[in-house]
């Protein structure tokens, strides 16, 4: 776990693209909201591994949003329920239902569809928000926090030594 955090911090502090990190968090958000073993999660996993997305960020975001999904489950089901039962969408779903892939992906399940739709919709603003925050962090926040004694004490901790080993650097410069 420490390694994962260390990797994320390393990514945040390194020259890694902010978009790679933001995309990892956004994808982690989509996968985290959905049930674990679904067809679209496998597809997103493929994207995460195949594209140059920060894997540490993805795994942490996945874990974090998985926890958050329990709090959001009512909202997720409500979204899925209202979509699947909406009268104007019935012809669309009737057509999609004839495809095995649709049923295999469990997109006729209120939770699965709700999680996918909500995840995809919110992932877009989340991506831009993360972009903005990471940039701000790199410019201002890191320098600001480096001044604190507690950060200096942290640098003397075990966490920091792990972090140093992973990043291959002696300092957070």
């Amino acid at each position: 776990m420490l390694s994962l955090f260390a990797k994320l911090f390393h990514a945040l502090n390194s020259e890694s693209s902010t978009r790679q990190i933001s995309l990892a968090i956004a994808l982690g958000f989509i996968v985290g909201l959905s049930p674990l073993l679904t067809l679209h999660n496998i597809a997103f996993l493929f994207v995460v591994l195949f594209l140059r997305v920060n894997i540490g960020g993805f795994i942490l975001a996945w874990g974090f949003f998985k926890g958050l999904s329990y709090l959001l489950s009512s909202l997720i089901i409500m979204v899925g329920e209202s979509l699947l039962t909406a009268e104007p969408l019935q012809p669309l779903f009737d057509t999609l239902y004839q495809f095995s892939l649709f049923k295999l992906a469990h997109l006729h399940h209120t939770y699965t569809l709700g999680a996918l739709v909500l995840g995809c919709l919110l992932a877009i603003p989340l991506y831009f928000l993360c972009n903005f925050l990471i940039e701000k962090y790199r410019i201002h926040i890191k320098a600001f926090f480096d001044k604190f004694r507690i950060v200096k004490a942290l640098k003397a901790s075990k966490f920091y030594s792990v972090y140093s080993q992973i990043s291959g650097q002696g300092a957070l410069s």
């Binding site: 996993l45 489950s73 209120t110």
Partner: protein, 599 residues
């Protein structure tokens, strides 16, 4: 390109997928085992054990061995257990969110079997056992502990209505007689009436010469008339008294005539004689057994109905707790959410081994428009008895359960079946051969069932505490065959049962034959005694009635005589006589004066 694509990630992806598949492949058995145990425990609220689960993949078949589900109300026993089960699952349908089992086989299914060690119970059941049914049955049964009283004692009982009404009639007769005697004394007798006639005659013979004589005669007649009217008033009162007395005595006589029948009814009721005539013997003997069997049907219904009727509840519950639900759309070949196309169970009960087969088992019959069909067969019920049962059921979209079926039973050997255990008597069927058939239908929870049973080669033993119960047992023991018709109608949880049988008539005849000497003799003696009391009392009454008729006749004659006297024309005659005389005298005088004038 390589700025965006991580080629080694592709390999990582396949490794991860392979890892997942491998994990599932190797741990699927344990996962399914754990899943069955935990979901079973969640549903039952008691420990569920599965010895082993094996999954084969081509085609996908789940094999379960050693399943035991603890009875939460009796943790030392299993609610249900089986040695082996296999279910062929359609993988694609499962992946689409449906459970489609093409074939389910359960071998050696057992109910209420003891466990090696008591199972854990996670929830407490607060369902109280309905008490009072047994007590109600007991109270509904005739005690049959009759002992007949002595006829003389019964007839001397002052509470008998015949005696009471007889006494009342005699007393009324005496009272009314006294009243009539009193008034009889005051009535004008024959001498008085003769004297009145003499006086009227004397008035008629009076010589009338002047108007003063007429006046005097009129005065005397009016005095007589006043006396007649006073006597007539006495006669009127006498008449009223006679009418009142007649009415009272007639009322008392009617009550007395009705009393013997009322007395007999009271005696029948008090000594339970009417129960011998009208006792529902079939219900008395077999009602409890029938209720017990319908109780099993109720238990099955209570267990199965929530499972087949719960889809709506499940959907609502899942939605509310965060699981979501599958929503199915138009499909050319739709299948229900859960469907077992063919199921075969072998059920082992203390009564025998039963082969149960089911087709199209689901809780959404409207999806394919097919009914679920269940057949039960056994050829070793209680040894060598044969049972066939065929039923079908379906649930519509409003979750209304419809079911009907028929059954047939042949050559079932019964041994040591307790038919009656009460304070009055015990009766046990030691042996007999049972056969029968029946039909039933169920609409939601409303049951309508008719069942016919035949018992042959019967042997009974029993003990009774009273003479009549001993006779009853002797009669039953003398019967070698009996037929029963058991009807059940109403709510399945509490159907109204009617048990009828030619046995009722057989027993009635047989019992009546055996008790007829005693009971008929008793009836004859009691009725004879009551009738003699009636005749005695009515004899007194008829004597009084004759004297009443005599008095009434006398009063009527007196009234008539007085009427004649009052309406006597003696005064008119005397007046006419005087007027005629005066007229003649006047004519004579006129003639005399005219003669002188012309002659």
């Amino acid at each position: 390109m390589s700025r965006f694509i991580r080629w080694q990630g592709l390999a990582s992806f396949f490794v991860v997928i392979a890892f997942i598949i491998t994990f599932i492949y190797f741990f699927a058995d344990s996962l399914v085992k754990k899943g069955i145990e935990s979901s079973g425990e969640w549903y039952l609220g008691a420990e569920v054990n599965v010895r082993d689960v094996e999954i084969t993949y081509a085609p996908l078949t789940i094999n379960i061995e050693g399943f035991q589900a603890t009875d939460p109300e009796k943790p030392t026993h299993n609610l249900v257990s089986f040695s082996k089960a296999s279910a062929g699952v359609d993988v694609w349908q499962y992946l689409f969110g449906k459970i489609y089992i093409s074939e389910l086989n359960i071998i050696a299914l057992r109910i209420d079997q003891p466990r090696a060690t008591a199972g854990e119970v996670y929830t407490s059941s607060d369902d109280g056992i309905e008490e009072g049914t047994v007590a109600a049955d007991e109270s509904a049964l005739p005690k049959l502990d009759m002992s007949l009283p002595k006829v003389d004692d019964l007839l001397n009982n002052s509470d008998l209505l015949t005696i009471k009404h007889g006494k009342a009639l005699a007393q009324s007769y005496q009272t009314e007689k006294k009243k009539l005697n009193d008034i009889y004394e005051k009535l004008p007798n024959k001498d008085s009436l003769a004297s009145y006639n003499e006086k009227i005659k004397a008035l008629g013979n009076t010589k009338i010469k002047t108007l003063a004589d007429i006046e005097k005669l009129n005065k005397e007649f009016k005095a007589l008339k006043k006396q007649f009217k006073a006597d007539q008033a006495i006669v009127k009162r006498a008449k009223q008294q006679v009418t009142a007395s007649k009415e009272l005595l007639s009322k008392r006589t009617k009550a007395l005539k009705d009393a013997p029948n009322a007395d007999w009814k009271n005696i029948e009721s008090k000594y339970q004689l009417e129960k011998v005539d009208g006792a529902d013997f079939a219900h008395l003997l077999f009602g409890e057994q029938a209720r017990e069997y319908f109780g099993y049907a109720d238990t099955v219904y209570q267990t199965i109905a929530p499972l087949v009727k719960s889809s709506k509840v499940d959907k609502e519950a899942k939605a509310s707790i965060g699981g979501g639900r599958f929503i199915h759309f138009y499909d050319e070949a739709p299948i229900p959410d859960v469907l077992i196309e063919q199921a075969n169970f072998s059920l082992i009960l203390p009564q025998g081994e039963f082969a149960i087969s089911g087709k199209e088992l689901t809780h959404q019959h409207w999806v394919r428009g097919n009914k679920s069909i269940v057949e039960v067969k056994s050829n070793n019920v209680q040894g060598s008895g044969e049972l066939t049962l065929a039923l079908n059921f379906s649930l519509d979209q409003n979750h209304v359960l419809k079911s009907d079926g028929k059954w047939q039973l042949a050559e079932v050997a019964l041994k040591d079946v307790s038919l009656q255990e009460s304070s009055a008597f015990n009766l046990k069927l030691n042996s007999g051969l049972l056969s029968g058939n029946g039909t039933f239908s169920l609409l939601d929870d409303q049951l309508d069932s008719e069942n016919k049973l035949n018992l042959d080669n019967t042997k009974y033993t029993g003990t009774g505490t009273s003479h009549l119960s001993k006779l009853f047992i002797d009669t039953v023991q003398s019967l070698k065959t009996l037929a029963l018709t058991i009807k059940a109608k109403g709510k399945i949880t509490d159907p109204s049962l009617s048990v009828s049988s030619p046995l009722d008539n057989q027993l009635k005849k047989s019992m009546m034959k055996q008790v007829s000497n005693k009971l008929t003799g008793f009836k004859t003696d009691v009725k004879k005694g009551l009738n003699s009391k009636l005749t005695e009392a009515l004899g007194l009454s008829s004597e009084g009635e004759q004297s009443f008729v005599d008095v009434e006749s006398l009063i009527n004659d007196t009234d008539k005589a007085l009427d004649n006297l009052i309406n006597s024309d003696v005064m008119k005659a005397k007046k006419k006589e005087f007027e005629d005389k005066q007229k003649k005298k006047l004519e004579d005088e006129v003639k005399k004066k005219l003669g002188k004038l012309f002659g």
